[in-house]
Symmetry: C2
Subunit: 332 residues, 2 copies
């Protein structure tokens, strides 16, 4: 067996050979601005709707990742993608732009790590040679679908996060170069009963804690073995809750843990808890983090994106928020 | 390589060792009534909302499939599931009922075959021993989300289909018993420019034709090699279009092709083109078809469910309907 606990081990170590990120104007003012391949001046990206702009960002990130790796469309066996819009239309419509198969996935803001986990499984097993894993989100399409019309100018509560406008994707290949995917931990749904849809960090932190601790157990490692333990978009509050939850169980990750949502914006106070959305961890990973790994600044990273599996209907019906986190271990 | 064209071959032949289906009252009057494990008298299933009823059907189908196979929850490594509701809440909330990992997938009404394809890949590679692949839908929750409030009593056009109330799931295992999954063909997005959201059959038929013909090519087979070529929910009209499209390319599937949507209801005229929804192929496959395979009536089946990857937003913005079909080849 190539599995221990909930962690699958990749003895052929599939590699991230290429990556790309497209980000919005607000995002480009922060840490990823100097690393993203395209930084938009106008978040409409020349399209007539927010949804079409979101789809175009995703499609562009996929194209650039393919091109940067020295590949053409015919080299790619498969696209693994999903997004936050109803029926994952950004991913499905982006897939229409390419002549290779598409498998749709959905894991809310942990879609990037789920796609990478599945892609690494398939490349490692020899089913495919090269896949693209990608996702994204758009502030305005997410606000329209999940919250209020922007024109209303609603006040945001202090525990809220700001949906990232951006998309990121990478090529996972059977070639022996780039950033290795050593193993991946499949997450379980965790629900601690949080019902506040404005407090995603608190809802998702238990799922991140569960997956990270399961990963430590399955791989016989601890926080000290990693240069970085990167979560998706817990934000500032959720990140503190994660540190507390893991500390209570005997794991001190405080020195190594960084949350993409917490670091993505320059002036964190203005966006309260920071960034969120599938594009949050996708852009940070596929620009800043992978670049730093290529340069050797980080040699071993645990990437555990987190997703809140709610909908406006489930919240409206009084349900709490089930959350999940899938993780992949990356090494150079 | 274990792949030719877009088809992945499973040399260890993972097996469907157990299956289960739950269906609504209308569905139980048709072909699957005598084969489903639970036939509901009341489609609310004792719940307060349609969405909760849909989730309960899915969760129940998963539980029964596990139990019928002689397994307990601790034997299962993973759930692969998705559904038609926004943010696949039926699958995510059903996953909350079980203590094993969950990977969310979305492929509209081809979710059953996508889940089986991914599950077979993972079992065949030795990453996991037993997974559950499952999906479902509910007429009333789909009408509410995609179309009109039921209370409006809107007239349905003659090219429309009726969303199936039902859920189905199966256990895919590394044991050598049951129904073998021999290979799987990954679908590409096909869009012939159909914009009529009431005519899903016409929109999806090209995707089914593409995947079925790709499968024939990759596996060096033709329609005569199968006892049954089963599509998801093209309905009566879509089924005829599929036969035409494949015939034009030199493949005569007319003797072997059956569409789950076309056969699910007893009096087809009343439901116009027949059934649709992720639960359509899931219930027909996981009750009638698998039972017939177990008895030897069908020995080789190509299951190619089809999905229309639209949303109410994409249609509202004038987009056409991108469609997809994933296929798995089943044998006893």
């Amino acid at each position: 067996m190539n599995k221990k606990g909930n962690t699958v081990f990749f003895k052929n170590a599939p590699c991230v050979t290429s990556f790309a990120a497209v980000c919005g104007s607000k995002e480009s003012a922060g840490i990823i601005g100097g690393y993203a391949d395209i930084t938009l001046q106008d978040d409409m990206y020349g399209e007539s709707t927010y949804e079409k702009a979101e789809c175009k960002m995703l499609s562009t990130a996929i194209s650039i990742a393919i091109e940067k790796g020295g590949y053409t469309e015919s080299d790619i066996d498969l696209l693994l993608s999903g997004d936050l819009l109803n029926q994952i239309i950004s991913a499905s419509f982006a897939a229409r732009d390419f002549n290779f198969p598409f498998l749709g996935v959905y894991s809310a803001c942990s879609t990037m790590s789920e796609s990478m986990l599945l892609g690494a499984m398939m490349v490692n097993a020899g089913y495919v040679q090269k896949i693209v894993a990608a996702t994204g989100s758009h502030f305005a399409s997410a606000e329209r679908q999940y919250r209020y019309p922007l024109e209303l100018g609603c006040t945001r509560p202090p525990q809220s996060q700001w949906t990232v406008t951006g998309a990121g994707g990478c090529v996972i290949s059977n070639e022996k170069r780039g950033i290795k995917i050593v193993n991946g931990t499949m997450g379980k749904v965790c629900d601690y009963g949080v019902t506040d849809v404005n407090n995603m960090g608190a809802a998702m932190a238990p799922a991140a804690a569960d997956t990270i601790m399961q990963h430590f157990k399955d791989t016989d490692t601890c926080a000290d073995d990693y240069d970085l333990i990167l979560t998706g978009d817990l934000g500032a509050l959720g990140s503190r809750i994660l540190k507390d939850l893991t500390w209570e169980k005997g794991y001190d990750i405080s020195e190594k843990h960084v949350d993409c949502g917490e670091i993505i914006y320059k002036v964190i106070e203005k966006e309260f808890q920071g960034g969120s959305g599938a594009g949050c961890s996708a852009t940070v990973l596929n620009s800043y983090v992978f670049t730093k790994m290529q340069s050797g600044a980080y040699r071993r990273v645990l990437f555990a994106a987190t997703g809140a599996l709610l909908s406006t209907v489930s919240s409206g019906q009084g349900e709490s928020i089930p959350c999940i986190s899938h993780a992949v271990q990356l090494e150079v």
